[in-house]
């Protein structure tokens, strides 16, 4: 797409995708956690204790969540200094909302029993 210089930054059609970026990572986390929870339970990973009191199931789900939270946090950080344009500003707030949603949505992996 053609683009236009606004306050020194290129704003193109692709910027529209940034608006959805934060929640796309949230969706990826959702799919990955729901799928891997099913896989882990099917293979009995909740019985395999890796660290003291931490099972393979909880460990792999925590890793998945951490990676996704890190990705959204990075996105928020990148967008933080580019909020002078509407699309980038909206993308920033959407990413921040996605970060909050992800924490609230997936926090239960740390406390609930994974397979019952």
């Amino acid at each position: 797409m053609t683009s236009q210089t606004l306050s020194g930054k290129k704003i193109g059609g692709g910027t529209l995708l940034l608006l959805a970026a934060g929640f796309t990572i949230w969706a990826a986390a959702f799919v990955a956690l729901y799928a891997m929870q099913s896989v882990g339970c099917a293979y009995g990973w909740q019985e395999l204790e890796i660290l003291s009191g931490v099972t393979l199931q909880r460990l792999q789900m925590s890793a998945i969540l951490t990676i996704h939270l890190g990705a959204i946090a990075l996105l928020v950080r990148l967008l933080h200094n580019h909020r002078d344009q509407f699309l980038l500003r909206a993308a920033y707030w959407a990413a921040l909302a996605a970060l909050g949603a992800s924490i609230f949505n997936f926090a239960p992996i740390f406390v609930l029993s994974p397979c019952t």
């Binding site: 797409m1 236009q4 059609g13 799928a35 099917a42 509407f86 949603a101 239960p108 029993s113």
Partner: protein, 841 residues
């Protein structure tokens, strides 16, 4: 009109009308105009709403008391199934499509939508698909397994008749209409706006419709896939949902609700868009929190895809997964609340709000929808959900959400935009008693239904014992239902009176500040005599002066040229004009394609499978026939666009609307494909009766050959475009692409036929369908390659005019990628099914 002549408003009006208008008589069937088709969608949807309402009355009669014996259980099953089906698929979605179709070009400052023929085709698919369902109802053969068609009840073992086939095929037919509308809405919003209307200047409703259409694009394919799989099970015994052969009824529930819950927001968000247009007008203050609302709508759109399992809380899913879906179900209330607070803030910030009929209906919306939202948070909580599941409490909740969130705003919108539709205003006061009857009747019916549910009354039952103590609640609910029906009857009477006897409306009777009021009412077929230059947010316009200027030809394209239906294409983000889009004129082709598609569906319904292949060929031929006469046989010079602007015609630009449409088609298709792969993995992981007794053993050699063919086809398609752009012949490469796709098609078909007895186990059925999917896509690649040759020989292709081949190239790429994934999935599924350390071993 000559381009260098000073615009004469009257002559301009006559010349544009001659090009854009739909003639009377039988020629009405050739309509492609957005105003005409938008009205048709709205009226047809309202007729279906009346049918759905009538069914609701029959349901309420049956369960008014414990001793009513009004209809048989079989008929009652058809009534409640058809009530839900009609309201969800034939009323709510098409009503929103109709409003979008009618309003979008007008609020965006364009003359029409991006694909007028697709609008017409979508309408005929909707009308014919809906009619199939209604005729079935009249013949006593309507679907009867609930509007969500749960297996195994809807499987052929327990529902052997034609009833559920009608649902599966009829609804899929209607879904084609919805998907085509979604693509049309997205491309129109992103590419067909007034010059200068950057994304941040769009009227807020355009944001709502854009995001809703995106949701449809990704939300409907899982249901289409589910319907295809269930029909394949019913017709050909492929056991996707049969637990005795490796299938699982929960797969249906996942596929259905993956569509079904976003559907609720797909219905609500356009209504919220209409509310966001109306409230600033009546508050006399621009919308507060424009950016916050855009962010909130994005959040709702995504979150709504993460809560489908709250319809399945009782099926035995682990608590941790329940927590994910419960949390998402509660979370979605926050961005919804942001919108409601923005509306309240707009009212609070403005001068004294103007109280008129639309505001009365919006008051009804606010009261009912907020109550529905609160009970929504209740049923989002797992322990409460377990208690209330499948009771009338849920029926009450969903009606509060859907009637509050869609019907009331749509009635407000009807009163708000009726002067635009008709050019008349109402002198009658019937709208007020109509409101109170609907509002009072609704609460009487459904508030009490919460109590009936809490007292344990299950959904979908046609009778209950007197000892249950539900009689008086049900009787009052039924009386309330009839009061509500009387209110809707008055609403219809009021509309008829306004259309027939209302006094002429002044331009912009509400004092709105959006572009749709900058035109005469009722609107001319061409919408704007010339297109506006937008310099500020599009809800800060002065429609009165703007309308006068545009009618006087002071905007872009202030002329009629070559009998072309012209509008402007703009840059997606900035709104900078980039091309003159020449839209196709009125034609009977969409009607012919719609009739043939209907014939195809009927052939499947009555199991004339060989005949259906012939009809399918005719459907494809008729759709390809749309391209006949489109484009140009010679390279065009830049075209004048008015105000000193010169632009290329769309067929000589790099990424015109049709290119984006193909991108979106591939996105929807990819969602369907991903759902299919999810289904295969889900069954392997969760379904009973695994591992399968017989495992597919695909040949690696044949698979490699198939992969080479589809990769070769996509490379040939790419080289055909390169050859064309270098002013060389594309024939050789097009032929190669066609031959390679044909070889790919034959190879995938061969691989599918080599799968041993796909009816024996879901593992084999899934692999069979994945391979057939790849074969179909290669087959479409053959058709597109042949189409490219046809266009070449017709003289429509040149170095500047390579659009047809670039669209085909997109498809070749997509087909190659999905074919390779299909092959990998085939081997993966075979490996997982035969792996000794599987989850059940």
């Amino acid at each position: 009109m000559s381009l260098d002549r000073k615009p004469d408003p009257i002559r301009l009006h006559k010349e544009l009308t001659a090009i854009w208008e739909t003639p009377p008589g039988w020629a009405r069937l050739s309509a492609v105009n957005h105003t005409t088709l938008g009205k048709r969608f709205i009226i047809t949807a309202f007729v279906f709403f009346a049918i759905g309402g009538l069914l609701a009355m029959l349901i309420r009669v049956q369960i008014a008391t414990s001793s009513t014996a009004f209809v048989s259980p079989e008929l009652y099953g058809q009534f409640f199934t058809m009530h839900g089906t009609v309201m969800m698929f034939l009323f709510a979605i098409p009503m929103f499509e109709g409003f979008a179709m009618y309003l979008l070009p007008k609020i965006l400052g364009a003359r029409d939508l991006a694909f007028p023929r697709l609008s017409a085709y979508g309408f005929w698919c909707y009308l014919f698909g809906g009619s199939i369902l209604i005729v079935a109802l009249l013949l006593g053969a309507a679907p009867d397994s609930g509007w969500f068609m749960y297996t195994p009840l809807s499987s052929s073992t327990y529902s052997p008749g034609i009833n559920n086939d009608i649902w599966l095929l009829g609804i899929t037919f209607v879904e084609i209409s919805a998907l085509s509308a979604a693509i049309e809405i997205i491309v129109s919003i992103l590419r067909l706006r007034a010059p200068g209307m950057s994304l941040e200047r769009m009227p807020i409703m355009a944001w709502y419709l854009l995001i809703t259409a995106m949701m449809m694009l990704f939300g409907f394919p899982p249901l289409i896939l589910g319907s295809i799989l269930l029909e394949l099970e019913r017709a050909f015994d492929l056991p996707f949902f049969d637990p005795t052969r490796g299938g699982d009824s929960l797969l249906w529930q996942h596929l259905f609700w993956l569509f079904g819950h976003p559907e609720v927001y797909i219905i609500f968000l356009p209504a919220a868009g209409a509310i966001s247009m109306m409230i600033p007008t009546f508050a006399r203050h621009e919308l507060v929190g424009y950016t916050a609302i855009v962010v909130a709508v994005v959040a709702v759109a995504f979150l709504s895809f993460g809560l489908w399992v709250h319809h399945m809380f009782t099926v035995g899913i682990p608590h941790l997964a329940l927590a994910f879906f419960s949390a998402a179900s509660g979370l979605v209330a926050i961005p919804t609340g942001v919108q409601i607070f923005a509306w309240i803030a707009t009212l609070a910030q403005g001068r004294r709000p103007r109280w008129d009929v639309p505001m009365l209906y919006l008051g009804g919306f606010l009261f009912i929808f907020v109550l529905g939202g609160l009970t929504g948070v209740m049923v989002a909580m797992v322990p409460f959900n377990w208690q209330a599941h499948d009771t009338h409490f849920v029926v009450a909740h969903l009606h509060y959400v859907l009637v509050g969130g869609f019907v009331f705003p749509m009635m407000a919108a009807t009163y708000y935009w009726l002067p635009h539709f008709t050019g008349r205003v109402s002198d009658h006061k019937i709208s007020i008693p109509a409101f109170w009857l609907i509002f009072g009747g609704f609460n009487l019916t459904f508030f009490l239904m919460h109590l009936t549910g809490l007292r344990g009354m299950p959904r979908r039952i046609d009778a209950y014992p007197a000892e249950a103590g539900w009689d008086w609640l049900n009787l009052i609910s039924s009386i309330g239902g009839f009061v509500m029906a009387a209110g809707f009857a008055l609403f219809v009477v009021d509309l008829v009176l306004q259309v027939r006897f209302g006094t002429a409306a002044p331009r912009n009777p509400w004092g709105a500040r959006t572009a749709e009021w900058a035109m005469p009412t009722p609107p001319p077929a061409y919408a704007f005599a010339s297109l506006p230059q937008v310099q500020d947010r599009a809800d800060r316009l002065d429609p009165n002066s703007l309308g006068t200027d545009l009618a006087a030809g002071k905007g872009y394209l202030p002329f009629a040229r070559n009998g072309w239906m012209e509008t402007l294409g703009v840059d997606m983000a900035t709104g900078k004009p980039g091309e003159v889009i020449v839209l196709p004129n009125r034609t009977y082709k969409p009607l012919i394609s719609g009739v043939l598609t209907c014939a195809f569906v009927l052939c499947l319904l009555f199991k004339f499978y060989w005949a259906s292949l012939l009809v399918l060929a005719l459907v494809v031929g008729s759709l390809l026939g749309w391209a006949s006469g489109m484009g140009s046989r010679r390279d065009c010079a830049l075209l004048e666009a008015g105000r000193g602007l010169v632009l290329p015609p769309h067929w000589q630009t790099e990424r015109p609307p049709s290119w984006w449409a193909m991108v979106l088609v591939c996105a929807a298709d990819a969602t369907l494909f991903a759902s299919l792969l999810f289904g295969g993995l889900f069954l392997w992981l969760v379904a009973p009766a695994w591992p399968p007794p017989l495992v597919a053993q695909p040949s690696l050699t044949i698979a490699l050959f198939a992969a080479m063919m589809v990769i070769g086809a996509s490379l040939s398609g790419r080289l055909a475009v390169s050859a064309l752009r270098q002013k060389r012949s594309a024939i050789v490469m097009l032929r190669l692409a066609g031959v390679a796709q044909a070889a790919g098609f034959a190879t995938f078909l061969l691989m599918a036929l080599q799968v041993p007895d796909p009816t024996a186990h879901a593992h084999l059925a899934v692999i069979f369908v994945v391979l057939i999917y790849a074969a179909i896509h290669a087959g479409i690649g053959v058709i597109l390659a042949l189409h490219g040759l046809w266009r070449w020989h017709g003289g429509y292709l040149s170095a500047l005019r390579s659009l047809d081949l670039r669209i085909a190239q997109l498809w070749h790429y997509y087909a190659a990628v999905t074919a390779i994934i299909s092959l990998l999935a085939t081997f993966l599924f075979a490996f997982l099914a035969s792996h000794a350390e599987g989850p059940r071993s």
